[in-house]
Every structure is written in C-alpha cells, then in structure tokens.
C-alpha cells in the first residue's frame, strides 16, 4: 500500500474515534461521564486488535480488545448486523472493574464482519454493598455489584427488553445507567456509520490493508527502538498502602523487564499473592499498563494499536495480584494499575535513563452517596488527581491526573447544585511537592461538608503511607490523607481504602492527595526559584530554609523587598 493512502486512512480512523469521544461526553447523563469524562472509545478489527483510538484514558486500551475476544468466544458465528453487546465483568468480559461497562457493536460490510466499535464508560451505580458499587472492603467480586458477562443488549436492531429490565432493576440510579448506555450505543452506531463511509470511499481491501499496516508500522518502530537498547534486564517494585482488609500490610507489585534483540518481556511473577481486598487487577489491564509504559518511553505519539500488543510479551503468575483467581475483588484497581505502571517505567528507564522520573502522587476516587433530604438516592463520584514527580528536565506539574488516569475534576458548582454536599476548600497544599533541584508537583486539598443525614463515604486509593519517591537526591512528596471532621472532637484519620463510613449532616471530610517526588538535590535549586515558590505559596519559608538550605537572612530580605512595595504604599495611605 502506498504510504500516502495509508496515512490518509490512519488519520480518518483517528478522526472517527475523536468524533465518538466528543459525542459520548456531550450526551452523558451521569456526572462521571459528562463532568469527569471517564469513558473511552475505540475501533477494533475482528480479532480485537485496536485499529483506531484517540487517547483519553490509556487504561482502557487493552480492555476493550479483551472484551471483543470474549464476545467472539461467547457468540461465535451468532454475531449479526444491528447487534450490540455489553459486559462489565472483569473475568468473563475483560473490563478493569465492574463499574466499567463496555458496549460493543459489530460492523459488517456486505455481510462480512470487518470491525467492532466500542466504548467503556464508568457507571454511576450497578448495585452491590455500597452506593456507587465500588466497595473498598470487597473480598470477592460478588460484593462489587451485579456482574454482566458478555450479553446481547440489542439483537439485530431490537432492544432485548429482558436485559434492560435487569439493568434497570439492579441500579440505585437506573435513569443515569440507561441514559449513559444509550449514549454508548449511539457512539458505536456513529462509528459504524463513519466506517461505512470510509470503506465506500477507499474500498474494503485497501481499508483492511491499512488496518493491518498501521499495526505493522507501529510494531516495526518499537522493534527498531528496542534493537537500539542494550540487551539486559531491570527490575523495580512499587507499593500500595493496603488492600482495604489487612490495614497494616502493604501490597507489593514487582516487575522484571528483560529486553533481548527486538523482543521485550514483562515478567510480573515476582508480584505478591493476590489479596483479599480489591487491589487485584486482571491481566488485560496489566497489559494496558505495559503498553502505556513502553509508549511513554519510546514516543508518546506512537499510535497505541495492535502493533504494540504484538511486541509486548508478558509472564503472569496465576494467583498473584496481577493474575488473580476468580472471584478475587478488583474494584479499586486504579492504585494497583498505577503502581505496576510506575514500576514498569522505573525498570524501563534502566534502558533510557534520560526518561527517569520521580514518583507521582497516585490516583483515587472519592464517593459520597446516600439519599438527599428529599429522599432521592444519589452517588457523587469524583476522580481527584494528584501530581507528577519531577524529572531531569523540570518540575513535576501540579494538580494533574497521572499516568493511566485522566478524568476531569468535577466543578464545585455542579456538585453543589446536584448533590447534598458543600465544598469548604479547594486549593493546592503548600510544601506538598517533594523538594529537589526540580520540585515534585503540588497536590490539591478538597474539603466537603455533608448536608444530609443519610450519607456514606467510600475512598478508593491514595498514598497515605507510601509517599511518591524522590530521585537522584530529590525528596519524597508529601503523603496524602483523609480526615473526618478535622480539628473537631470527632476527628478521625482514615486509611486510603475503605467503604461505607456513615456520615451525617454537618460532618466534614478533608481529602488531601499526595504530592510528587523531587529530582536532584534540593540545595541545587537556585535561590531565585525557591524564592518564587515561597512568594507563590508553593514552598513555605521554613521548608525553604530547612529543605532547600536557603540562607535565612537572604530569603527574608528578598521577601521583604517583595512585600516592601506594599508596605510603602500602605504607609503613604495612612
């Protein structure tokens, strides 16, 4: 195929997915979709290999292909024009956790199955022990809401009323769930329509050839880069505070990456055994983590398609946190996925040292749920970002989503208009970035006041015990925390993973995420940059002196000079 037509079709495929992505956000019902934008769309070939993507949430990249394979396996030849399938099953489907619903439709050209269009979108509630379904103390997936294996939602254009009835009957927020699923079917149909136009324009064979070729180009590119790396193996580990059940025990994720010639093997057999609590992840998700790490190391612009999957070989150990036996709980998978991604990045930076990066502040979601004073059930789920660690090229960015996660913050005004909570504070935390020549990113603090007597709190992850590590002399980032009723008699510090904490009107919840780690010795940071940070409230005066070793007098004089104008002016006024 000539390189020009190829590039043209590849751009078209990415354009189609962007359009699907725009549409799914714009039509979302739950705040999770329309405010947090926790959903991603993809096009896949009949074997499930990705042929079109537009990165929103990289963590879904290997999950939808797995879902397609499981749908193929379940339904075989019984996949027809106009069908739509759904699944939220981590084991039988392939989604990260049961709150994520995949909706997938087959695309036919002249009776031939040519592609699948699909999306994964987080659902507001699918039943289970706690509202919002993500149960931080779950010991098996049966406590994580209702599990749909791959089932047919629409059969040749006809909605399966039975399935819809089951969906409706198994959610605390059925309108939101059904509305969002309708949106997912809509974007899949949109994808089908656009694929049909593409094939009409270029013909089926050239299109199929382009699907295959883009995967080959990506594969070749990765292999060429791998050949330029020295052969060898590096390993790294990363920790998660707790599995939510055994609170005093940290969970270890380990990776050994061996590169030989143009091949690479991610070996996770050194991970600890699966946990009772929900910090296990399924292999399809772990693969997504490896893809992310490899692309980030080689070239962020590399299309994440089936070509990546062909290069990455993985060794799993059945019964480990990365390949648990059914029905191990998986719902707080994000912390685990972030840990294994971070370990993979560290190990890979053994091959590409200029891409070394200090630890990040991790991920996590907070759910406040219950019933409003008017008696209406509500689920307020938010994904609150953290901060990146610093690296050899600069400070870590503050208050961002990290690695595989990429959800938006929910607007205060939308939350307060729709849910019985009130925000008391929303700000960056001084000194939360790990000191270093390059400072770790600062992280946010959000404090909520509860306005209903029937509410409960769920927290899914955070670094309350294991901080983001510093590198090359840089210091760790500040720990995160969750405090109930800070400064009051009933003050209580909470672990990073729990569910079902009962709250009543007037209670306050302080959520502090963890900061990013620093890079390089803090004393190497220039005086001017430290001064800037102090003036901007990023670094305290005390930390500037104690951590960065800034001369106290010099600092005070400089601060004085900055404040001086103000004082001089105030004197004149008087």
């Amino acid at each position: 195929m000539d390189p020009i037509t190829f590039q043209v079709i590849q751009s078209r495929l990415s354009g189609i997915v962007q359009e699907m992505q725009d549409s799914i956000f714009r039509t979302g019902y739950s705040t999770i979709i329309r405010e947090s934008q926790d959903a991603s769309c993809m096009l896949m070939d009949p074997s499930g290999d990705v042929i079109g993507e537009h990165v929103v949430l990289p963590l879904h990249i290997a999950c939808l292909p797995q879902c397609v394979r499981n749908i193929q396996q379940t339904f075989g030849a019984d996949i027809r024009l106009g069908d739509a399938f759904l699944t939220n099953h981590p084991y039988l489907g392939g989604v990260p956790h049961s709150m994520d619903m995949a909706v997938i439709t087959p695309f036919f050209h002249n009776g031939r199955l040519v592609a699948f269009c699909g999306s994964i979108a987080h659902k507001s509630d699918l039943g289970g022990v706690v509202p919002g379904t993500g149960y931080g103390n779950a010991r098996e997936i049966f406590q994580e809401g209702i599990q749909y294996p791959p089932v047919r939602l629409i059969s040749q254009g006809e909605i399966m009323q039975d399935i819809e009835a089951i969906l409706r009957a198994n959610s605390r927020t059925p309108e939101l769930v059904l509305g969002d699923i309708r949106g997912q079917v809509g974007v899949a149909r949109l994808g089908e329509r656009r694929l049909a136009e593409l094939i009409e324009r270029y013909g089926l064979e050239p299109a199929l050839e382009a699907f295959a070729m883009q995967q080959r180009v990506t594969e070749d590119r990765i292999r060429a880069t791998l050949r330029s790396w020295p052969d060898g193996a590096f390993e790294a580990e990363s920790w998660v505070d707790t599995d939510g059940i055994t609170l005093d025990k940290r969970v270890r994720y380990h990776i050994r990456i061996e590169k030989k010639g143009d091949g690479i093997v991610f070996d996770s057999t050194g991970c600890q055994d699966q946990t009772q609590g929900p910090v296990n992840i399924v292999p399809s998700l772990a693969l997504g983590c490896y893809y992310f790490a490899l692309i980030a190391m080689i070239d962020p612009k590399l299309p994440n398609n089936g070509g990546v999957a062909r290069v990455v070989q993985a060794k799993f150990r059945k019964g480990s946190v990365l390949d648990p036996y059914f029905p191990a709980a998986t719902n707080t998978y994000m912390a685990a996925a972030t840990a294994i991604t971070e370990a993979s990045l560290q190990a890979l930076s053994g091959f590409v040292s200029e891409k070394r990066m200090a630890g990040n502040g991790g991920v996590g979601g907070i759910t406040i749920s219950g019933t409003t004073p008017a008696g209406k059930p509500f689920v307020q789920y938010e994904s609150v970002g953290s901060a990146y660690g610093a690296h050899a090229h600069g400070d870590g960015p503050s208050a961002v989503t990290v690695l595989l996660s990429n959800a938006r913050i929910s607007p205060v005004e939308v939350l307060e208009s729709e849910f019985p909570t009130r925000l008391v504070r929303f700000e960056l935390i001084e000194d939360s970035g790990g000191p270093g020549k390059y400072r770790g990113g600062l992280v946010q603090r959000r404090e909520y006041e509860i306005l209903t007597d029937d509410a409960q709190l769920t927290l899914r992850g955070g670094r309350h015990e294991v901080p983001a590590f510093g590198l090359a002399g840089g210091q760790p980032g500040r720990l995160g925390g969750c405090v109930l009723n800070p400064g009051m008699q009933s003050e209580r510090r909470m672990p990073s993973r729990f569910s079902g904490l009962r709250l009543k009107s007037g209670d306050r919840v302080l959520l502090e995420r963890a900061g990013g780690g620093g890079f390089g010795g803090p004393r190497e940071r220039s005086f001017e940059r430290v001064l800037d940070d102090v003036i901007d409230g990023y670094v305290s005066r005390d930390a500037a002196i104690a951590e960065y070793g800034v001369d106290e007098r010099r600092l005070d004089e400089a601060l004085e000079r900055w404040e001086h104008r103000l004082r001089e002016f105030a004197n004149v006024q008087r």
Partner: protein
C-alpha cells in the same frame, strides 16, 4: 464621506479593501504589518491610499477592522499584569483547572507541562464571602478583604483584575460590590466580573473566560485608543468605526475593548462573514464550508442555508473562553507547514510551521526543511517568478526541489514529484479532517455543500479536497487573499445575551418563554440604542439551549419566531430530538427535556457595501490566456497547463482543467477532470467536468 474602509491585520500583511460608494470602485491592497504597533501599519496604509487616490481622510465614512492583537497577546502571553479574586478557600479552581491532561499523545508524555497561568498565584487574592447554588448568601462579603486586595494590587502595579466568585452567575451582588470598591481603591485598575462576562455555571470555565478578558482589556483599550487617536489626527472623523468580534458581528471600538475576550477570533470571523454574505446573494450557493488557508494555519467554518454555525465557547489557544463565537475550527496547516519523515519512517506534515521567518525553503531566507509551499512550487502550481501578494519575493524552485528530494524523497524511496504530491495530499487530509469536524462530525452531509476557498493558499488546494470529500464543488471569491477584509465591509453589529433558567420544557408555556425573551430583547435594545443605533436598524435572533433531563450539556435550537404561538414549543422539542440524533447517533423522544438557557442576539444592521463583480473583462477566454507551464497532477509526467489572468476572465467563461489562474493575491488551481466557470459577482465555480 463615501469611502468605506476595511482593514484586516494579519501576522505578515495588513490587508485593505476600500470601496467608494459613489463610484462603486473597489481597491484592494496590502501593506506590511507592524507587529507590536499595529496602528502604525494601518495609518501608513490608509495615508498611502488617500494620497494615491487624491482623497481626504474626511471622505472616510465607515471604518471596520479585524485585529489579531488579542489573539497574539494570548499566544505570546503578553497581556496585562493581571490579578485574580476568588472566593476564600478556592484558589484551587484556577490552579487545578481541568486537572486532566489534553487527550491524544500528550497523555503519554511524561514531561507534560500545564500551560503557564495567566496570573501567578502571588497575584491571586481570596475574598471572604460565599454564595450558594440557589443564590442565597451563606457568608456576607468581607469588604476589608477586598480593600486589602485592591491596595496590594495597586502597590504591585496590577493593571487589570478578574473577579470570579462561586455562584456569581446566580447572584452577582458580591462581584458588583467588589467592582465599586475597586473603583474607590484602585481606580485605574480595569475590572472584569464573571457575572458580566459570562454568567454561566462551571466555575473554572467561567473563571478562565473572565481572566482572558481581564488579561486583554488594558491592551485592547490602549490599542483602540491609539488607533482612534491616529484616525482622528489623520482627519478621519466618522463615528462609524468598528472592530470585528468572534461572533461575526462588529462592535464599536469602546464595546470591543471592554469585552476583549470576544475579539479573539476577530480575524478569521471576518472571512466567515464574507462567505455568509456571498452565499446570501447567490441562491444556488447557500450551503458552503469556508476554507481560509494562510501561511501557518487554516480556518474552516460551516454555513448552512446562508447562516454560519455558531458555538457557545471552546478552547482557543490553550485557554477556555466561553463566549458565543462562530464555530471556526483551526488546524495547524498552511503554506509554511513543515514536512518531514518521522522516526517510524512515515511522512508527516505539520503541525510545526516555518512561519514567516525563515519561511519555506523557496523563500531563500534560510529555511532548509521543505514546506507545503515548496511542494506546490515543485508541482508547478505556483510560479517561481510571480511576485507574491504584496511583496516582491520570487521563489527559488531549485532549492525547494533539492530540499524535498533530500529530506523526503530519498529517505522514503520516492521520486521528488511523488514526495511533493505526498506532502500536498497529507496536508489536504488534515484540512479535510478539520472540515469534517465542523460538518459531517456535526451531522451535516458534505454532498450538499460547496467549499469556499480563500486566503493566500486556499484556492491552490481546494479542487482535489472538495472532490475527496464528495462536496458539490468549489467557489473562489474574486479576491481570495483579502476576503477577510471584504467581510469587514459586510458585517452587522451583534451583541449576544444569555439568561440561565433551568426548567422542564413541559413546565413552561409559550407565554412564559415570550416573557423571558421580551425582557432580554428590551435589555439588548437599551444597549444598542445607547451605542447610538436607531430603532429601525435593530433585529433580534432567539435560541434555546435544551437537553434531556439528566444530561449536563446542551444543544442550541433556533426559535424561528417570537412571540411563540401555542404549539411552537412542541415543534422546538421535535427539532431538538432530530438534532440530537444527527449529532450523537441517538435520541430519546419519550424522555423529558429541559430548558437550560435563553439566548438573544441583538443585531444592529449597519449600512453595508453591496457586492458586485470587481472584474469587467468583456473579451474571450483566449484574451485571458497568459502562457503554459508544466504541472504535475496524477501521473509522473508533467502536463502542459494553461495559465490565465483571473481578472481578464469574462463572466460565463468556462475553463477546463488542468488550468491555473493567476492574480496578485492568490493562485487558483483547476485540476484535471474539473471545470471552472466564472459566475455572478466575479466568483469562480469549480465542478467536476
């Protein structure tokens, strides 16, 4: 007072279109832009013109201006030193922003950095106060915190301040009081209130919009004052002085400066207006997609049945601005866009650009990496000897050829011609994708649309693109290179108003809707009369933002007539379902719908130029023939291609492709298999032969 002057300031050139109403004569010319003191270039150009034509400045009866001052200040972060006031405890709104990283490759970029804030945290002050979601006050305004902030800002020479308090769109009292206190404490500080700039929910986006306004206001105010002064100095005293805004309407100098955030798309908006007015006068051509291709970027917009598509906001140059604007989509693709072979061995074109300096290799100003212009030259579409618009630059074809051969053709194992063709095809695809964003992605069928090509490079690329996209054909306006300036002579004054009032559609009747609209209309009328317009100049447009109950984002649905009659609301509901289906692949005709916003646009009809063909050639096609040139189209062999002088083409003339039309401000390529035809108003229509 018969001269109507339009000035469109671009990065490289300042374009003029001057119409003498008395004689109908249209003058088109360019002068170099004077970056940083744009008024100098404008005044110089105007002076030259008046001298050349032996006219007095007092003859200017209308002056309209498209400016990039706001856009450039945002791009280059050269706005005013600005302060920010937020509700106590909520500094995070701006510092966290969206929190998410941009989608696409950036997500994988471990070295990602957020765009630098327009206001550093040191100039953010927290104000004691709190308003709740229903507009009630939880905590009264602590005026001392305001005064302290004002004093601090004054001491630090803050020129402008943005105020964005939580729920100020529901209850603006605290923001208004802050403006009063600033007027006392820091009278020289420009104040932008979120409740005035954009009274809508979602604090970060409102804050960002307000902040951009504050950041640009002093600059625009200074610029407008300078320009105003210079015009008066010159003896140009007309009160008909306007600036184009992002919504495609013009505003008086003063209004434009006060709402500077609305001037961000001033330049590209004028081009869309020109297209709108052309379409309006040509019954067979009311559906067009505008395609304005310049040196570094391309702007596209959709016009359906004579009306351009609009949107209520979006990200412009990394900053969110939620103000009504024409739905103009910009893609980094232009004549100066660079081509290269990436690490995967794939040919890439853009988004980087060679800019004006060094520019394409052929300019001979030090550029070494081939650009789209170089490819067009190698393919024979551009003339090496032909002076470029407004300049005397000649192009070095050998250098362009060499660069494409060495940097693209050899690494890919292609011939130089195939490599050049590849560059053009890939940049075309990028621009086609941009066209799809505003058309097919929004549910429109491109088969119903013409591609209206302008800007310096648009008519070079449009032919094959329109065919690829399955569009009806291409339209090329008489002076493609200065079409935006022409649009300035054709615009009305537009003010947009929005009122948020969330309510189920079933719960309102026609009377209630009429009441809200009438209140807004009166307000619009008051402002427009205050600006000196007369009753008989005013007309109004009405829209409703609707969504299904439970959704968070709305679709804007046109209200055809106000006052509404009983039954009209059902029709509007039906329109909404239909738009939703077309846009998203699904609709829910049984679900509840709610009204989110009422929108009214007040339009003051300004006396405008009438469009007529500027060409008056009476001869035959052969009279316009210039010479032959070798040009490459589908095959490896060059085709002897006829060159014509556009201005000498008689109306009705038919030109079979391949052919190339020359004019001072642009070049048009009619590819093989297509046929050009000179139609009314001097437009060129290109269709499949």
């Amino acid at each position: 007072m018969s001269l109507r002057v339009a000035v469109d300031t671009g990065g490289t050139f300042t374009d003029f279109v001057v119409l003498d109403e008395k004689t109908g004569a249209l003058d088109v010319f360019k002068v170099p832009s004077t970056r940083g003191s744009e008024a100098d270039g404008i005044i110089a150009g105007l002076e030259q013109y008046l001298k050349r034509q032996r006219r007095a400045a007092g003859d200017v009866g209308f002056f309209s201006h498209g400016t990039t001052v706001g856009t450039n200040a945002i791009l280059e972060e050269k706005g005013a030193k600005t302060g920010l006031l937020v509700t106590e405890g909520f500094r995070g709104i701006y510092e966290v922003g969206e929190q998410s990283r941009p989608y696409g490759a950036t997500t994988y970029d471990l070295f990602y950095q957020k765009p630098p804030p327009l206001v550093r945290p040191r100039y953010t002050a927290e104000i004691g106060e709190r308003v709740l979601f229903d507009g009630s006050v939880l905590r009264e305004l602590d005026e001392e915190t305001v005064r302290a902030a004002a004093r601090k800002f004054r001491a630090h020479e803050i020129k402008s301040v943005a105020v964005c308090l939580l729920f100020a769109f529901r209850n603006p009292a605290h923001e208004r009081r802050i403006a009063e206190i600033f007027a006392e404490e820091a009278p020289n500080c420009n104040v932008s209130l979120s409740s005035e700039v954009i009274p809508q929910i979602r604090e970060y986006f409102r804050l960002s919009t307000t902040l951009v306004n504050a950041y640009l206001n002093p600059l625009l105010t200074g610029y407008v004052a300078a320009l105003d002064g210079r015009l008066k100095e010159l003896g140009c005293r007309t009160d008909q002085r306007f600036i184009m805004r992002s919504n495609g309407g013009v505003a008086t100098f003063e209004t434009a400066a006060r709402r500077s955030v609305q001037t961000i798309l001033s330049g590209p908006a004028a081009g869309v207006v020109a297209a709108e007015k052309l379409a309006a006068q040509m019954p067979g051509y009311r559906n067009v997609v505008t395609f304005d291709m310049g040196g570094t970027s391309t702007d596209v917009a959709l016009i359906e049945n004579g009306s351009p598509a609009r949107r209520s906001g979006g990200k412009v140059h990394d900053r969110y601005v939620l103000v009504p604007m024409l739905d103009i989509h910009t893609v980094a693709a232009g004549g100066g866009t660079l081509a290269y072979v990436d690490a995967s061995g794939v040919l890439q074109v853009g988004p980087q650009s060679a800019g004006a300096i060094p520019g394409p290799v052929a300019y001979g100003r030090g550029g070494t990496q081939p650009t789209v212009t170089d490819a067009n030259l190698v393919l024979g579409y551009l003339s090496a000897g032909n002076a470029l618009a407004g300049g005397t630059l000649s192009l070095d074809k050998d250098a362009a050829e060499r660069a494409i051969r060495e940097k693209i053709a050899e690494p890919l194992g292609l011939s130089t011609i195939d490599a050049a063709r590849g560059i053009v095809e890939i940049v075309n695809v990028k621009m086609q994708e941009a066209i799809k964003v505003v058309s097919s992605n929004r549910g429109y069928d491109l088969r119903d649309f013409y591609l209206l090509a302008f800007g310096g490079a648009g008519p070079l690329h449009a032919g094959p693109m329109a065919e690829e996209l399955g569009m009806k054909g291409v339209l090329v306006p008489p002076f493609p290179g200065v079409t935006s300036a022409l649009g300035l002579l054709l615009s009305d004054v537009r003010h947009d108003y929005v009122v948020s009032d969330l309510r189920a559609l079933e719960a309102v009747d026609a009377r209630k809707v009429n009441e809200v609209f009438e209140g807004m209309r009166k307000h619009a009328e008051g402002e427009l009369l205050g600006e000196g317009f007369r009753h008989n100049q005013l007309v109004y447009e009405y829209d409703l933002d609707l969504r299904y109950v439970g959704q968070g984002y709305e679709l804007t649905v046109r209200v055809e007539r106000v006052p509404l009659h009983e039954g009209d609301l059902q029709k509007i509901r039906g329109d909404f379902d239909q738009q939703h289906l077309a846009l998203t692949g699904h609709s829910a005709p049984d679900a509840g719908v709610e009204i989110v916003n009422y929108r009214v646009t007040g339009v003051a009809i300004v006396p405008k130029a009438t469009l007529a063909s500027p060409f008056s050639a009476k001869g035959t096609l052969d009279d316009a023939f210039v010479s032959y040139r070798d040009a490459y189209f589908g095959s490896a062999k060059p085709v002897q291609t006829r060159l014509y002088d556009r201005a000498n083409l008689p109306e009705g003339a038919q030109i079979d492709g391949p052919a190339i039309l020359l004019q001072a401000d642009s070049t048009t390529v009619i590819p093989p298999g297509q046929r050009g035809r000179v139609i009314e108003l001097g437009l060129l229509e290109i269709m499949r032969a």
